[in-house]
Symmetry: C2
Subunit: 234 residues, 2 copies
DNA sequence: CGCACCGTTGATTAAACTCAACCTATGTGG
DNA sequence: CCACATAGGTTGAGTTTAATCAACGGTGCG
């Protein structure tokens, strides 16, 4: 079956997003381009679920993915989001374990799949690539530790303020200062580990304090300084 | 100054603990042995603190280290412990950032220091070693995510039960079923992210329910099944 | 001895969860 | 086209969990 979209060319992704593949030689990038499998995936698609065996990594060329775990009582805990230039699935692939998270498409995405074999081929051939991936993993580990400390020690209000700032930093704002990602109230709650109702109450509190404006799921940041003060981040 | 203790030999550590260095060639292990710096560190010593620049990794040959972050209000959040065979500091060393955690010696330790230069030398020379380290980082990342979900979703009681099981699994128990690590009540609280008083109350609840026995800081696990049931882990 | 640190207990308070009801938008099948 | 179902959003009331505050006892140490 013919593919009705432009397949991303690794070399271009590499130049544009400075991906994890930036230390590969031109030959290795070509190897990647000719061995990957690309696909467009619609919002709502579940790429894989906790417990699934996956044997490769997904490189995000377009769109947004939600990476989450399912806790006791089936409550979703959002771990992070992945946008263009990010890669998911490397953890389970590298340690040959079932996935410990599920991945769902939040915004229509273009993804490239690189199989375990190809990944190992490159890792063995190019130690700089391994170091690059190692650095990504270390960065994520540091973020996970920060996040852990926040959830363990900060109030829901502090965490919500912090997450709004974080979403702004990661996805940016449009010309009207509206954060470039739309999440349900429930998803916001599942990031900071609280109840949906708590998020709703706090958002309207922020709104009446003139810190944010709300239009459905769109969140406009009006007073970033107040938000930073509330979040207690220095 | 002469050293009054037996310096660990990397080859032996490697054989005994199956360390991250197990994929090195014999020559590379010799390189390591002759380039590392060893030291004995007493309980209470702070190896490095959050924000410090470190430029090398510490390999634990003996003893226990506590790795923690300092949250707002100065409250300590324990991230993990490191025992023999474990390595700390690789995160900051590899991404050339100030340490994001502090490390304190909980039980008199023997540590080997490997500088950033030597680490990179090995990483570049042996891609298998990089993959090994990558796997360690990925494993830790998975644990951090599990932990995050627990703290976000479970009650203090569930978390305390879970942590007792985890400490047993990691450090084992002696002939009297007493967990092989002694922590203050405050440290237990700083693992699970709660107040010291809450830990004390729950421990005595577990005790009166016949689940554990307490002798000062020694914790004896009497009914592991009940504990598992409370912790809600499957 | 007096100080510091840890552990314990009780009383009170505050934060956040749960439950319930209701509203709106959107989409679906008859 | 309407009736209905579904999902998300909102608000209020009541409850629960866990934090905070305060007091006090034990232990070890300079």
């Amino acid at each position: 079956m013919a593919k009705f979209f432009e397949e991303p060319i690794c070399k271009e992704c590499n130049l544009e997003f400075r991906t994890i593949f930036k230390k590969l030689t031109p030959d290795q990038v070509d190897f990647l381009t000719s061995n990957k499998t690309c696909s467009m995936v619609k919002r709502g698609t579940v790429l894989y679920q906790e417990g699934n065996r996956i044997s490769g990594i997904y490189c995000v060329s377009k769109g947004i993915l939600k990476i989450y775990k399912t806790g006791t009582e089936g409550k979703e805990q959002i771990i992070k989001f992945a946008k263009k230039g990010y890669v998911v699935g490397y953890r389970s692939t590298l340690i040959s374990e079932p996935a410990c998270t599920s991945v769902k498409v939040l915004e229509d995405a273009t993804l490239c799949y690189i199989s375990s074999q190809e990944l190992y081929h490159l890792l063995k051939a190019n130690s700089e690539f391994g170091i690059e991936l190692l650095q990504i993993a270390c960065k994520e580990l540091g973020e996970a530790n920060d996040y852990l400390t926040d959830i363990a020690q900060k109030s829901v209000k502090e965490r919500l303020a912090e997450i709004l700032i974080h979403l702004k930093d990661e996805f940016g704002v449009n010309s009207e200062e509206i954060i470039n990602i739309t999440l349900t109230r429930e998803e916001l709650a599942n990031i900071i580990g609280t109840a949906t109702e708590s998020v709703i109450r706090l958002l309207s509190e922020f709104k009446s304090d003139g810190i944010i404006e709300l239009q459905g799921r769109k969140i406009k940041l009006v007073d970033l300084n107040k938000l930073k003060k509330i979040s207690n981040t220095f």
